[in-house]
Symmetry: C2
């Protein structure tokens, strides 16, 4: 079963916003065995929308369109749908009642003419009721293709995908199984890795595809199998992973099902009843924020001291000015003092510290741009590693955040 995803909006074509809707939709479709064959972003122009709708007619089973459903004039999706389906707009009573309740109840004002128009839908549409916003979703069929139109506001789109679209697809269509397995490798570059597993890769069964997903310091290998029997696919993938372990077992650090490291680490800390704190300089609070982004983090994450200015390291973390003068603020000694101090201050089992120079200019230290010292304390075991994460600034910070979380993860795994 094939799908295309279309995003409508000039704000995307001028780069003002990043389209995150398509990735979310693709992931949900993929999980239920629907293959996304193409994603497209087009302008708010009637002719562009019509030609895209026509292009996919009978070529894919489902087209999911987001954007162009808000209350204002620059939203023309609904009118264009009417033209494409040779249909006209009618008022949907249930939607109108909901819009009224939302506007009058929440915003405490009478609804406007424009609000009323949100309750107009093409007469042939199956309405996807949007409990979290005013624009309803629509499900319409032409020949062999279903067209689904959703609002572009991310949380409204997510609500409709999860509660209306996916359940209806699962009910209406027979789909194949798609299984993915991602193998996380560490410390070996993409090209070297590719040479080591070349023979294995050439002998993969034809229903399994391999992709390399490199990012700084690690390469994820993704195996994707597609077929009708889930058990067969699972066995085939497990079998290939066993062969891969023989070849590169020493660089495999884990298997992830698209779970970011902060989720995996969080579950581990929670299970083991361990608590965590951070003392951050060059990462500016991003390690804390990444840890805190996981729901339930309050059971293991105590807090953080972001000591961006050197004086805060001295004042709040009691890192002595003497130590800073002697070794410089970007040094293993300062990272060690910071990590011990925050572990002690916040009374946690584990602590992480960072001090470095993210650039683009040198700050309070002469350290090379990209230099980061990461300190880890796990109970009485304290150690510091030095890295150079290159440039630019955002890459240095992101690599430091990932590396710090990985260091803690690997250290706890050893126990």
């Amino acid at each position: 079963m094939k799908a295309s995803i279309v995003t409508i909006g000039d704000e995307i074509l001028i780069g003002q916003i990043v389209d995150t809707n398509s990735a979310f939709i693709a992931k949900q479709l993929d999980k239920v065995g629907v293959s996304v064959v193409e994603m497209k972003s087009i302008s708010d122009d009637k002719n562009d929308i019509l030609s895209t709708l026509n292009e996919y007619l009978n070529n894919v089973d489902v087209v999911i369109v987001t954007g162009g459903l808000g209350p204002t004039k620059d939203d023309i999706t609904k009118k264009t749908f009417c033209e494409f389906f040779d249909d006209s707009l009618i008022e949907n009573t249930e939607v109108l009642t909901h819009v009224k309740e939302l506007i009058e109840g929440f915003y405490k004002r009478p609804i406007t003419q424009i609000n009323k128009e949100q309750a107009l839908v093409p007469s042939k549409a199956h309405v996807l009721f949007n409990k979290v916003g005013t624009a309803p979703g629509m499900w319409l069929q032409k020949e062999n293709t279903v067209y689904i139109s959703l609002p572009g506001v991310p949380y409204e789109m997510k609500y409709l995908i999860e509660n209306e679209v996916i359940p209806k697809i699962v009910k209406d269509y027979k789909r194949p199984y798609i299984l993915h397995k991602t193998i996380l490798t560490y410390g070996v570059g993409e090209s070297l890795l590719a040479e080591q597993i070349e023979d294995w890769e050439n002998n993969l069964p034809n229903f399994i595809k391999l992709a390399y997903l490199p990012s700084p310091g690690r390469v994820r290998l993704r195996l994707s199998a597609r077929g009708t029997n889930e058990g067969v696919l699972k066995n085939a993938i497990d079998n290939e992973v066993i062969k891969l372990k023989v070849l590169i077992g020493d660089v495999i650090v884990g298997y992830d099902d698209d779970e970011p490291i902060e989720v995996v680490l969080g579950r581990m800390l929670s299970e083991k009843g361990l608590t965590l704190a951070t003392a951050e300089s060059c990462t500016g609070g991003k390690i804390a924020q990444t840890i805190a982004s996981v729901s339930g983090a309050s059971s293991y994450f105590k807090g953080s001291v972001v000591s961006y200015a050197t004086e805060v390291k001295a004042k709040v973390l009691n890192v002595s000015q003497e130590l800073i003068n002697k070794h410089s603020v970007v040094s293993a000694e300062v990272a060690e003092a910071m990590v011990k101090s925050v572990q002690d201050l916040l009374k946690t089992d584990i602590a992480i510290s960072t001090t470095g120079n993210a650039g683009p200019l040198k700050g309070d230290s002469d350290a090379e741009i990209g230099t980061v010292f990461i300190g880890i304390a796990i109970k009485n075991n304290v150690f510091v590693e030095e890295f150079n994460f290159g440039q630019p600034r955002e890459k240095v910070v992101d690599r430091a955040v990932n590396k710090a979380l990985e260091m803690v993860y690997k250290e706890i795994l050893k126990k």
Copy 2:
């Protein structure tokens, strides 16, 4: 002048990664007057790539392709380009030397056969030299369309766009001017705003387009003008903004040129010589991290105490347990105590505090999920506001971060 952007990669079509490259490229093209008419993400499949290249032939002036240029087997862009341009691969000496230096110098190992193959480029290609990675970019022309292929790794792509692609487009093509002006409004919903400015909108000159960009709590109005004379466009837009001010001047809070609030605020703090600190509970360090993401932030950002656990509020921020017991940890009183305490502790002019319940479960307090108290201290002026940012968790945190930065920004503007 028209362009299309194509992203190649199955990892995008299964939703494993969000395509941020296209937005970056679109923004850079838009700045120099190139209109992006379509963006597309397609699979790593030769036929899909070929049919996309053919589809754009003579329909746009430039096609920018990212992805599919890494060192491994699943990268087939180069071979497909050869087929499309009826060309063959030749070794580029300059690229080979660079790959060797990078691998042998930085990774301290001999180059592999796969690395060597990265120096192969189509013989007709103008090579875009990639100083920050091993995969070169390529610029090739067929009939009236130029095809540019770039690596998918974001910072390599960015380097090539900024240093090679845009300068060459500016040199080779005559382009129209595109001017955007974004008007930031605050506190009025999209539909109500639309009714208030309906007549004005209907009378806009035909070379100016209006778009509504709503996000929780604010609506940005974007005016885009296109033409050959920059002065004329500028005058026309300024003129429309004056008319708009008469209609909705009371809800306009600013004009942004796509600069996020942390950049605008940072510049303001820097100019006025003011310093800032944060004490964060439910935002988990995200305000700190957002402020620190701006280069040069170290001149005004001192640091932060992330007091995720209640005991950290007591211990590090000296918020008395009595106060917490009396008012609950999610309260105006605690937000006020936190903001005063961190301002005092880190000796800053300005401080921000947050305490709230981001959900999905209730934590150390009975406060409704979505409740956030934001405290602001500007010298001796301290105030707290209460919000309910709804659900889900990430929306609560993002809205709290934006709101806190806006509160500081507006407060300083008043002075």
